[in-house]
């Protein structure tokens, strides 16, 4: 009887530990990234619903990876210009971010709640890598993590040239929005 008890105790410990280990990493493969360009002649927005991201709650590391061709526009001409002329997605098919939640110690990923997050790291778009910092919100609920952020990037920082003739159509600074629903990463 006692040995059975010990056995169950052992089993529970095992489950708890493996459980805890599995919960260090959270990921999403259908994260949402969108951008918005507000210019005098027209507003342009595009959405990507297949963004990949992994977050390590132990050290606050975040990796984001997306395919430029997965951005969908209302007008196919805009999409064509975006891919062929601006981000040159045939040459640079992916955009990536690698960084850290700098205040991750203030976030209790094991406890439901809303937290504010400071993120900084390096972002690569159009083959150009630059440091970037942004503010975001993190909501922990039922062992899932929702992370949202809004920030602005300047096209010229990433070597993206907008021809003068469409200067009235495309903004120099683009609003970026991300919305990720992370789930525990199990393999």
């Amino acid at each position: 009887m006692k040995s059975l008890k010990t056995f169950f105790f052992f089993l529970i410990i095992c489950v708890v530990f493996t459980g805890a280990q599995a919960q260090d990493k959270f990921f999403t493969r259908n994260g949402h990234a969108s951008f918005f360009s507000k210019a005098p002649l027209e507003n342009i927005e595009a959405h990507n619903e297949q963004v990949l991201s992994i977050i390590n709650t132990k050290n606050g590391e975040i990796v984001i990876n997306m395919l430029m061709k997965s951005f969908e526009f209302e007008k196919s001409l805009m999409q064509e210009h975006f891919n062929e002329n601006y981000v040159e997605s045939h040459k640079y098919p992916k955009a990536t971010f690698k960084g850290k939640i700098t205040n991750f110690k203030e976030i209790n990923f094991a406890k439901d709640g809303q937290y504010s997050a400071q993120v900084s790291g390096k972002m690569t778009i159009h083959g150009v890598t630059r440091p970037i910092s942004a503010q975001g919100n993190i909501e922990v609920k039922d062992q899932k993590i929702n992370a949202q952020s809004k920030f602005i990037i300047a096209l010229k920082d990433y070597g993206i040239q907008v021809p003068k003739i469409v200067a009235q159509n495309v903004a120099e600074n683009i609003d970026i929005k991300v919305d990720f629903n992370y789930v525990p990463y199990k393999k």
């Binding site: 493969r29 259908n30 994260g31 949402h32 969108s34 959405h47 619903e49 297949q50 990949l52 990876n65 997306m66 395919l67 061709k69 997965s70 969908e72 007008k75 196919s76 001409l77 999409q79 045939h90 098919p93 992916k94 919305d179 990720f180 629903n181 393999k187």
Partner: protein
């Protein structure tokens, strides 16, 4: 008299050319997206084969499939609700983790709402490359 006639004709030509230019411009501006539903796929293959081709040589696979409509058949591994709207369906591959990830045209949402894990489905979509999954967008569900 003759000069007047020439000017008239010239004026008319300029008008016609600029009208044509303008309408071509409007056409281009409103050019429709690739019509996945009514265009033929360049190739039909199983989700497992597509993943294998991508894992073997991503660059070569991109050269063949990027921006192309491909028809893929496979078993549903997961159905995910997207953050904004819509659904992503993952088709199982031999890889434990990498799937073929498919997002659908808005007009497909009704026909995919009953799809469950384990279902065998066939679809076509535009290939946009590979991250962890091989990604297809603007998918259209096909009858089995």
């Amino acid at each position: 008299m003759n000069l007047k006639k020439i000017i008239w004709i010239l004026g008319l030509v300029v008008l016609i050319v600029s009208m044509a230019g303008l309408s071509y411009g409007i056409y281009l501006y409103n050019k429709p997206h690739v019509d996945v539903a009514n265009q033929k796929a360049i190739q039909q293959l199983a989700a497992t084969d597509l993943m294998q081709i991508y894992t073997d040589n991503e660059e070569e696979a991109n050269a063949n499939y990027l921006d192309q409509i491909i028809q893929v058949e496979g078993t549903v591994r997961e159905v995910l609700a997207n953050a904004a709207e819509g659904t992503a369906i993952l088709l199982a591959t031999q890889d434990d983790f990498g799937s073929v990830s498919c997002t659908f045209m808005p007009n497909q949402l009704a026909s995919i709402k009953d799809i469950k894990v384990g279902d065998q489905i066939k679809l076509k979509g535009l290939c946009t490359g590979m991250l962890m999954d091989v990604v297809l967008v603007r998918c259209v569900l096909l009858k089995n």
